[in-house]
Amino acid sequence: MRLRLSVADTLATATLGPRSRPTRSLLSMLGVAIGIATLVAVIGIAGTNQAHTRTQLEALGANVLEVTPGDGPDGPIPLPTSAAAMIRRIGPVEGAAALRDLPAHKAYRTDLVPATMGSGITVAAVEPELANAMDLAVADGRWFDDATSAVPGVVLGSRAAQLLGVSAVGQRVWIGDEWYGVLGVLAPAQLAPQFDMKALIGDEWAIAHVGDPQITTIYVRSRSGAASEVRAVIPSTANPAAPFAVTVAAPSRLEQAQTAVDESYRALALGLAAIALLVGAIGIVNTMVIAVLERRGEIGLRRAVGARAGQVRLQFVVEAALIGLAGGAAGAVLGVLVTLGYGAVTTMTPRVDPVACAAGVVLAVLVGALAGAYPASRAARLSPTQALRGG
């Protein structure tokens, strides 16, 4: 005949321990609480960052695509010169412009620097359309127009200008083997940060005087939400004769950079959360081992009045699991508060992940139950006689 305790009785029995020692129970749930708080906060902060980045990009109207030439059976096939103009005629496209890299050219402050020394600044020839396509703002001076696109003028990216020591429009920069006048300096480019380090010259001038630069990239900005539509249509629009030789990518370096930061940050913090949970589990094991030692008399008594060894074991496992539950719940609340605080401090809209909270609490209960297994089995194995004598 097997007499079972009801669920209510089992829970009531398991809460006796923590209720009789509230401070110690509080301390033993601390480790688990910190672990779960870290988990929830990390996921919340990463989610907040990602949502913010996405919102920012969408606010900039950004659905950015980069079109690059690919290979045919006999080698690389260049993009036709009319490609950018054709792409601009696609409905949802709000701007498209071609860029031609000039890798052999370098930009210097004077003509006295040996050709072998680099400065990290790359030179490229661009269509005037680029400013609209990539939402480039000018901090000083002006951007290219059709007239200045045909003369030796240069617009510097924000970092390039700093490195070259150029602070005023009208100063001169030595590119290749002649002087270029500085037309303007760009503000930091949010949508395409790679332009910060570039020196840009007009493509009409470049095509006429600098050899035959091929199109390196066509930058395309489409209406929000239409990117995949546009993407599907670009290859045949850009190069009707060889659409297979057209590569379309959605780099959005800002989002990529953000994701990379988030991911490494998340990996680190999840590692910390795991360690905190481990420490929390050890804390629970410790507390329970001491509890079993202190409560030998109670254990012996329960056995005397008819508790089976398995019922004693269950009592302590449930007690440990309840400590885990309390720690997990407190940790989830704390993690949510940290996420909300992060949102307040950074003025971003906080994004709390309810699945992470629920998963954290479940994880905490499991950690508690596992931690309680060893002390509970020690309690179950106690000889009632010895427990009653000693206690």
Binding site: L3, G297, V305, G306, R308, S383, R389
Partner: protein, 234 residues
Amino acid sequence: MTQAVDAPALAVRNVSKDFPSGGGTLRVLHGIDLEIGPSAQVAIVGPSGSGKSTLLSIMGTLENPTTGDVVVGGASTATMTDGDKAALRSRAFGFVFQQFHLLEHIDATRNVELGLLYAGFTPKERRERALSALDRVGLGRRADHRPGQLSGGEQQRVAIARAIAHDPRVVFADEPTGALDQATGASVMDLLRGLTATALVVITHDAAIADSLPRRVRMRDGRIEQDVDQEARA
């Protein structure tokens, strides 16, 4: 008028007990035979090391004999599992200890209910029996007091209430007055002696207590030296 012979509430049949000791074993009990009738009141006395505590543990199924059997209400416990013996204890036995073994953070009623927790009673039944038992030991007014608010004698009464709330066959008391002063101890013994419809087995080193019970079993070196029915003498 013929009275049917009462079947024993509990019978010890040729029980021996060995403990591991040093390199070998130490025999603490040697072939004990003992019968406890349904209303018997027995004192087990003997010097320290005589095996009386071990015998009580074995009689109460808290410990297994090395050889022999304990028969409770006609049922042999030698072949019972740990679960069966626990169930048996929950219904058939009550225990009173020298150190009371009450839980400090719950009140008297809940302490008594603890004795009923594993016996299959509903929560309502447990409450009713607990309050009734506390009444029987004279602590009806203190039902909501915690052990810390009770005197030593009162705490032992709560423990006795816990031991009888389920109407057991046998109440085992291991030095029940050991932590109490003379006068308190005497009143506790009065209470124990006043229990009817249950057998009583008391371990004691106190000669006066031993003499106050109708039957005295003296042990020495793991054997029963003497088993005297004191009422028969008087």
